[in-house]
Amino acid sequence: MNAKGTPDKLQQLVQTIRDLPALPEVVVRVMRMAEDPRSDAAAIARVIATDQAMAARVLKLANSAFYGLPRRVSTLSEAVVILGFRTIKNLAIAASTFELLNREIAGYWLQRGELWRHSLACAIGAQLVARRVGLSVAEEAFVSGLLHDIGKVAINLFVREQFDQIMERALNDRIPFVEAEEAVLGFNHAIAGALIAEKWNLPPTLVSVIRYHHQPSQAPDASTMVSVVHLADILSITLGIGIGGDGLYYTLEDGTLAMFELQQSDIDDLCAQIVEQMAQAANLQEQPEVAVR
């Protein structure tokens, strides 16, 4: 066993992240095709269809309440045409991270499925906030919210070993859990998440959202999306959706509500909508059974 020390831990973290599964080749190709104006819907659908499990999950997400489609889509090419390249790309990313996010995260006292529930609540919340504030890329909000806590998967074992020290540090120094993680471990779940996002070659804006979702004002590009996801995360934590041993030991950054001109009644309204949509989304956790053509 090596001596304790931050550089050593950081190296272990990098190794842990290296050992995480890569984004499936299908998603990488869909991401590339979605950015290329010469791509066509049928070609993108064909690429997704090469991975049956992912194709089923993409269809299931496409038919879920968040997209509010007027009728059920039953084929991938239909989904690509109706939802557009960008949405399909996000759905593919979401579908491919399900296995990771659905894991038990014992370090945070999260049972299997709880981190996925929290991530989904944040994704729903981010989309609701983005729409409410008229953000033109409300579309990106969903996937940004979904991936914000991906770093917890990587630092799980580190947190499990030192959960008590981290919590003690938070209570003694009166700092949020995420800052206590950094004080004790030398890194936190946001930093780890950004490393994963970089490994996966996700877009820089998404890396930034994950990295700064607890301190949006620190983000170099200070994009609105970081604050949107920050607020959605805090609302999901407050509601207790998929919260673990770190509980509500987090803070909402000053000025966030003012930035979006949100009052108490708006917050209550957003909370009510998140709960409502989560109830509708409950079946997303099941194994997909949709046949793909």
């Binding site: 959960f163 207790g240 041993g245 509500l248 109830a279």
Partner: protein, 175 residues
Amino acid sequence: MSTNLTVGMGEIQVVRGASAVLTALGLGSCIGVCLYDPLTRVAGMVHVVLPKSQMDKAGELPGKFADTAIPAIVQRMVEMGASTSRLKAAIAGGAQLFQFGVSSSLDVGARNSEAVIAALRELGIPLQAKDVGGSVGRTLRLVSDTGLVAVRTIGGTERELAVLGKILSSSGVAA
């Protein structure tokens, strides 16, 4: 063999005399409200999410809001043979974000606690025990046979909060 019933957000569960355990998982700012009639052993739990119902929204789960949840669960329990005058309550949840000012728009937890306590008082239901506030997540259990109420802090151990089935001290039982 007892039945486990999970009480999801905004849901109401009521059982009578059965060996059931009602559980609300992952209470943050939400409040789990346990109600119990020691005589008929009608047990109920509701998972309250927000303090006040929205007037303009029809078809909402009444259990979601404190002001509609308490009357709704009491009615369900009375329909199953409970008497409002014998009901006893215990509550848990209502957590807050860390270091958050009282005046904040995000003090949902504190507003939930206040609203639930007010709604119980309105119906004259005694609150035997409460475990509210702080920044911890909680899991709440109600055992229908005995009225035992237990709270577990997520990441911590479970402790007994109350036994609502103790009938000796209750004046309502003789009625």
